[in-house]
Symmetry: C2
Subunit: 206 residues, 2 copies
DNA sequence: GATCTAAACGGACTACAGTCCGGTTAATAT
DNA sequence: ATATTAACCGGACTGTAGTCCGTTTAGATC
């Protein structure tokens, strides 16, 4: 059994916080506000960092100092939703949260993730674009990967559950799921059913 | 049973080929030669289209007229190896080719794909970068996706084998496999073993 | 309040993919 | 040989992410 704690998506101020300067704080708020506005107005894909700098009335350098990259900004925008999702599968009610048998939790996890992607997929995809590092090793990704691994272990799959979790996780990748939903028009329910089928077969008789 | 034919990776000259002009042919050769040279010299990631145009002593417009995009060029560079891979799992000897039971073919397919990525992964990744379309719907991808689907069907998995094949395929995605190999230092054999475990469990008692 | 300094700022600059369009040329017809 | 023309060519141009560095300023110290 592990000890899992919520992982902050974008750890602001690494440790002994020398507390943010007031102008910096003001600009961060302005930027986040403008970013949300712009994403609503023209969508994630048409959104550019120049537009953001302009709208927030701030220099471009400031934007990048704050968020590091376009992907970093997207992560920040996603951070609250991602935390909420984490909260649900770690502390929430069963079958997603603890209390249900591992197979049921896995099924629920897939379903929930698919819904998450339906809602925030564009952001999530943009958050890992142009960076395999972000895609595979970002804190939230690592966390739900470990979650799957733990459930596999509980279900008695002891043959390299880490890699197995990686494979399962792959099929829930935002880009893939989004592509199935949007490009192939596959309904959420069918994706969820396929996931259920997959993990059910996998966990059958330990 | 389907009728499968080799899919040309980059269908040169769409249909009623009006035959390429001689200067165009010359330039295509020059470009391919220069591209291979440059990829060898500085690696896929450092490779730029400007470098290519310069090295081949050709205008930039010509490069893009020929290959459409960076990803398109990478596909072209990959095309021969990809065709060879296709040949092996469609016509080659068992267990990869026809003749072995589906589970064994599936296992062999994963192993072969992992080796392929070990060798050509950087190219393959670059060929689908910046384009979910390329990543998921490029002809070779569609082909091996259908191959997996067929094997699943043969093995008696009739519950939405198309989507199941998509999920399995996801774990063989070049970017993922490459990331495991290079970033996490996971040896090829361990990936292959995990794949074997995955599909074996999945196909157990139809 | 004056001084100091590290942090934050802004916007010009670079790198790269991809587009555009006026000029050139290979192939064909005459 | 000459004319014709559709395909081809080059390279200047655009859009966007990300960097750099001289300037400004918040906030702490005296």
């Amino acid at each position: 059994m592990f000890f899992v704690s919520l992982i902050p998506i974008r750890p602001e101020l690494p440790f002994g916080a020398p507390s943010e300067r007031s102008d910096a704080a003001r600009n961060r708020e302005r930027l986040l506000h403008a970013a949300r506005e712009l994403v609503n107005e023209c969508g994630v894909d048409a959104f550019t960092m120049d537009m953001l700098a302009c709208r927030a009335d701030v220099g471009k350098g400031t934007v990048f100092r704050r968020f590091g990259s376009r992907a970093g900004l997207m992560m920040t925008l996603l951070s609250d939703s991602e935390s909420e999702f984490q909260r649900q599968f770690i502390f929430g009610p069963p079958p997603l949260g603890p209390g249900a048998p591992p197979l049921e939790r896995l099924i629920a996890f897939g379903e929930a993730r698919i819904k998450f992607v339906e809602e925030f997929g564009e952001l999530a995809r943009a958050a890992s674009e142009h960076s395999p590092q972000n895609r595979h090793d970002a804190p939230p990704v690592v966390l739900w990967h470990r979650h799957i691994e733990m459930l596999l272990r509980e279900a008695g799959l002891d043959r390299d559950p880490w890699l197995l979790a990686l494979s399962l996780g792959a099929s829930l990748d935002p880009e893939r799921v989004l592509h199935s939903l949007r490009e192939h028009g596959i309904p959420q329910e069918r994706l969820a059913a396929s996931w259920r089928e997959l993990v059910t077969r996998l966990l059958k008789d330990g």
